[in-house]
Amino acid sequence: MTLTSDVDLSGAETAEMTTAVAMNSALDLALAADPRVLLLGEDIADPSGGVFKVTRGLSTRHGTSRVRDTPIAEQSILGAAIGAALAGYRPVAEVMFFDFVTVAMDQLVNHAAKFRYLSGGQHPVPITVRTVVGNSRFGAQHSQSLEAWFMHTPGIKVAFPSTPSDAKGLLASCVFDDDPCLFIEHVALHYSQKEPVPTGEHRVPLGQAAVRRAGDDVTVISYGAQMPGVLAAADTLAGEGISAEVVDLRTLVPLDFPTVLASVARTRRAVVVHGATRFAGPGAEIAATITEELFEELAHPVTRLGARYVPTPFLASGLEPLPVAADVVGAVRRLASS
């Protein structure tokens, strides 16, 4: 099954785009539309155009003054983004891999996420931080999915798209949002899928989940790089006569509880699936909230699937820490069969 965005594209001119190309388009349009948009990051300017080529061509089109290569110094990248935001700009900073935010958490957590509050509303920080979850090909320091840390940090929004169209639409929304946004990409999604994406201005609002597939028996809640596996699992399950509703959260802050709860209220069974570590992960919050709201309706406790409690073992080892489609199939079967 192909993922499709829930945004109505009829009327809009579209082109087949990968996620990387769709993000490139969002950034290109933002740079063209608003002189206050700035890009900062390591190797993002041409000829490199970013290690995943997401910013390819942008410095050539918009100048290296607005699409700026930086030294390898993430504290200064994020600090510069925050400062430029205070000066009226809308910086988009790239942290090459999510794991590298660990060298610059202070700027994001103590400053970007708090300045609006600590200034009594005087100093919002409209920055977007783009970052990438890697995979085990690179080992344990290039494959962590740390969104739970930022869900737990009041003051920063978190988007994690799973389709090209959403990647474009959510990135545009982040860039033009007046709050700091963490925009999470996954290396497995950059070039894995093409779909028609509006060539012009396209936004997907922050805080709206998408029902990717309607179903009656069980609700599967997921986002980001787990979505293809979840949808494949739903296909398999459909073949067995089990109808799974699939909710793609798209943003984790704000998290669209109304959509999640409406679905689970109907199916009375839920599975949450993510690539982040299961223990104290995003699924814990989602499961706890569903349970608080729908305790009487639930036929079963919410099932959580997430990465095992281990540093990521190297890909070549063959060890798999992440939930795969078969795990989802198994979990849904267990819920549906009782």
């Binding site: 700035l38 003054s65 607005r66 930086t70 030294p71 110094a73 504290q75 200064s76 994020l78 600090g79 510069a80 983004a81 925050i82 400062g83 430029a84 935001a85 205070l86 000066a87 009226g88 700009y89 910086p91 060298v103 202070d106 700027q107 103590n110 400053h111 300045f115 609006r116 509050y117 600590l118 200034s119 009594g120 509303g121 005087q122 100093h123 919002p124 009041p154 003051g155 929004k157 007046d178 709050d179 805080g207 802050v253 704000p254 509880f257």
Partner: protein, 340 residues
């Protein structure tokens, strides 16, 4: 204070004009009086705040305030009273913030370490050592992209030169020729540790020069010399000639916080510094050198004292935020926030 001109290319010649001298003295006196008062209020329990005294920095901050305009941006630290006053933040807003009241510069929710005042160009203060520097680099990038003419300054302590964020910001500012003045308020102490105990080289300006930026050291107890050197640095920033590091050598005249002791400070060192207490020393120099008439100085003193009393009275009778205000300003929209 010496009247000799610095070799500095952009150093303003001679002395500041009378209005500037008066304003500098007013700032210094305000800071001295407010600092004493704030510590007393904290001790008395009327101001339930951690407070970081600034005594010793009066001259450095007054000089910085005198060379910046409200359009210029400033980023400061937890030890920000002198910076905020010098930058022109209304004293009532400062003191109300220290008391957690609605008319405080951050509506009472920021507190001591978190002063923001957009109209005065006070863009942020931080409680994390060194973290203001990268943010100031971003403000300076903004000033540069706006077309120049505006300067950005960032203040930080001697201890901050050890931390990673300092290095990254120095490097970036030098690389991008940012219009940024790094104002190192060297008070010779980082909490209870003297500079020689944590710095392999205490030649902070020399270390800064290695980043390929202009760097200078100045006697921070000499407001006139400091005004010249900071003025030159700001002029360089405005002219698009890149960043400058200025080490302002002072001494911390009181403990690290309002409650800290002095026991670990060598008494002779402290006494020598106290003998140069900036505001009274500057006052004497202004009077003795016929720069400002004694009667005018008396007037300023009186106005300052009245202003400080007024600010504390104002603050202590101002309202606290309504309970519901706790959810304001997390995001632009508070709907989702309230539900969590």
């Amino acid at each position: 204070m010496t009247d000799t001109q610095l070799a500095q290319p952009h150093a303003p010649a001679g002395l500041p004009p009378l209005a500037v001298l008066e304003r500098m003295y007013e700032v210094m006196r305000t800071v001295t009086v407010t600092d004493e008062r704030a510590r007393a209020e904290a001790k008395a329990g009327r101001m339930p705040a951690a407070f970081y005294p600034v005594r010793g920095l009066e001259g450095v901050c007054a000089a910085l305030g005198a060379v910046l305009t409200p359009d210029d941006h400033l980023v400061s630290t937890y030890r920000n009273l002198a910076d905020t006053v010098a930058k022109g933040v209304p004293l009532r807003a400062v003191i109300a913030e220290l008391h957690g009241r609605v008319p405080g510069s951050s509506k009472g929710k920021g507190g001591t370490m978190h002063m923001h005042h957009d109209p005065s160009g006070l863009m942020a203060t931080t409680g994390i050592v060194g973290s203001g520097l990268p943010i100031a680099a971003g403000l300076a990038l903004g000033a540069q992209l706006d077309g120049g003419g505006r300067a950005v300054a960032v203040t930080f302590g001697d201890g901050a030169t050890s931390i990673g964020a300092y290095h990254e910001a120095m490097n970036l500012a030098a690389l991008w020729h940012l219009p940024l003045v790094f104002v190192c308020q060297n008070n010779m102490w980082a909490e209870h540790t003297p500079i020689a105990a944590y710095a392999p080289s205490t030649a902070l300006a020399e270390r800064a020069a290695a980043y390929n930026m202009a760097a200078d050291a100045v006697d921070g107890f000499d407001p006139i010399e400091t005004w010249r050197v900071l003025g030159a640095a700001v002029a360089r920033a405005r002219a698009g000639e890149g960043p400058t590091f200025v080490e302002c050598r002072t001494y911390r005249l009181v403990g690290h916080t309002s409650s800290a002791d002095y026991s670990y400070m060598p008494p002779a060192e402290l006494d020598a510094a106290l003998a140069r207490d900036p505001a009274p020393t500057f006052r004497a120099w202004l009077a003795d050198g016929d720069h400002v008439a004694p009667a005018r100085l008396d007037e300023i003193d009186k106005a300052v004292d009245t202003g400080v009393d007024d600010a504390f009275d104002f603050a202590q009778s101002a309202p606290h935020p309504e309970p519901g205000a706790i959810y304001d300003d997390v995001f632009a929209d508070r709907t989702w926030v309230e539900g969590r």
